[in-house]
Symmetry: C2
Subunit: 241 residues, 2 copies
DNA sequence: CAGTTTTGTTGCACATATGGCAACTTATTG
DNA sequence: CAATAAGTTGCCATATGTGCAACAAAACTG
């Protein structure tokens, strides 16, 4: 029973790239395989040439989309459920500390998909039903994906309120600001009278898998409190990493 | 720029297997690659040994699940959202025709995960909140996954009501019956006083991705109506294929 | 910012893995 | 039950993959 050595190594490399699910350095791959760097270079170059791996600008290698997402991208049901269970205490704490509704969403088909929420006790509340969808460009949760995930805004930025950003350049600036801040905001851009803040949730590989945020009526959230909420969400999101 | 020949050929073979999406004969693969049968044998044997291809009883070779299905277990968020949108009309129709609640669920971590529902208009109703989880062995939706999907029941079959099947053998018999019927049932096995029926939803590849079902209080569902509901769900599920 | 270390790529030569041939075994067909 | 086609194994020559070492390019570091 003879096997082709170089092919075996190549496939083993693929397995490793898929398993690690993040860009890997040549040296690490070579030492994992137990071969010379030179050999690893050839293997990886072949994988890239055949479309099974990609090389980033930092020279690191990763499995191509062919391997990582054979059809739909995005987290699996398993991952969502696990994340939901892991982060629900955070939602509860957010709502307890702020008195406002908190939500968790994942990315699906260029929209945010609400998968969990904790309702506010107050009579005036924000309610995105679990299972519903929302736009990326004018919700805090959506902007969190634009800022920290690999989501892209739709071509046409639909206007929902006077405050909705409909210009791609303005949106890009805002997303950049969100990245610097560590959280994204929605200042009455989707629904008049509602302000939201949201931060990213990363999985063990550093890939953004979900967003969590707090939403409340503008009447209860002045500029000062708006910033406080943002800081709180940012703290809660990055605490668990 | 030198590439590894045998690795290239191996990956090219994988592409071909994936593209053709059906078991292929050794000779065809060899002639496609333009190599000797002997060489093709070695390549395919290596692919099989590395888990990238499989050889059927008829000796034909096919790409392994690693290549065909998205490697993460369970459907992706994208797939769930798409299925939800596609099948929500069916849920609505089920509730309209029966007056009872209808639900849709996907499989996540050996549990059913409710991702959509249409409420009954009647005052006495069954309510599984969207986003909540349920056991596989004693819900109609869960049994649908056991019967038509590739789910496996937990080791310990927890007892929820006197009617819960806690014996693996009895459960296997019931699952087998479900397969024959075309739908699964839950006769007060999870909650006393509630009867449910559920059928499978398949994607374009014939892989079960979700289950949809109807639930109502036993007082409104006698044996005759129970069967009618099952027939209805079965019809609705298999209609859309 | 120069010196130092680490990492990635290229050239080369040798050993050997690999591909074709042919013989052999196993299935398929008339 | 021939007869033919498909699949697998043995063998050998050489194309080819591998490691070594030199080189180039980042990444640290003081």
């Amino acid at each position: 029973m003879r096997l082709l050595q170089s092919l075996s190594r190549g496939l083993q490399t693929l397995d490793y790239l898929v398993e690690q699910a993040k860009p890997l350095r040549l040296t690490d791959i070579a030492s994992y395989l137990g071969v010379d760097k030179s050999n690893a270079t050839h293997i990886l170059r072949t994988l890239v040439a055949c479309g099974y791996a990609t090389q980033g600008t930092d020279r690191r290698y990763a499995a191509s989309e062919k391997m990582t997402s054979s059809q739909g991208s995005g987290p699996t049901a398993e991952a969502i459920v696990a994340t939901r269970q892991q982060w629900q205490p955070v939602l509860k704490q957010l709502t307890r500390e702020t008195g406002e509704c908190s939500h968790m969403a994942v990315l699906a088909s260029s929209q945010v998909w609400y998968v969990d929420k904790i309702d506010s006790e107050l009579p005036l509340k924000v309610d995105h039903p679990i299972g519903s969808l929302g736009p990326l460009h004018c919700t805090a949760l959506g902007k969190a994906f634009l800022a920290f995930g690999d989501a892209e805004a739709e071509q046409e930025l639909k206007q929902f309120t006077p405050a909705t950003l409909t210009d791609h350049k303005a949106l890009a600036t805002e997303i950049s600001k969100s990245r610097d801040r560590g959280y994204a905001i929605d200042d009455e851009e989707f629904t008049s009278g509602i302000r939201c803040v949201a931060g990213p949730v990363f999985d063990e590989h550093g890939v953004m898998i979900a967003a969590i945020g707090v939403s409340g009526p503008t009447v209860r959230i002045n500029d000062k409190r708006f910033e406080e909420l943002g800081a709180l969400v940012e703290k809660m999101c990055f605490m668990r990493e």
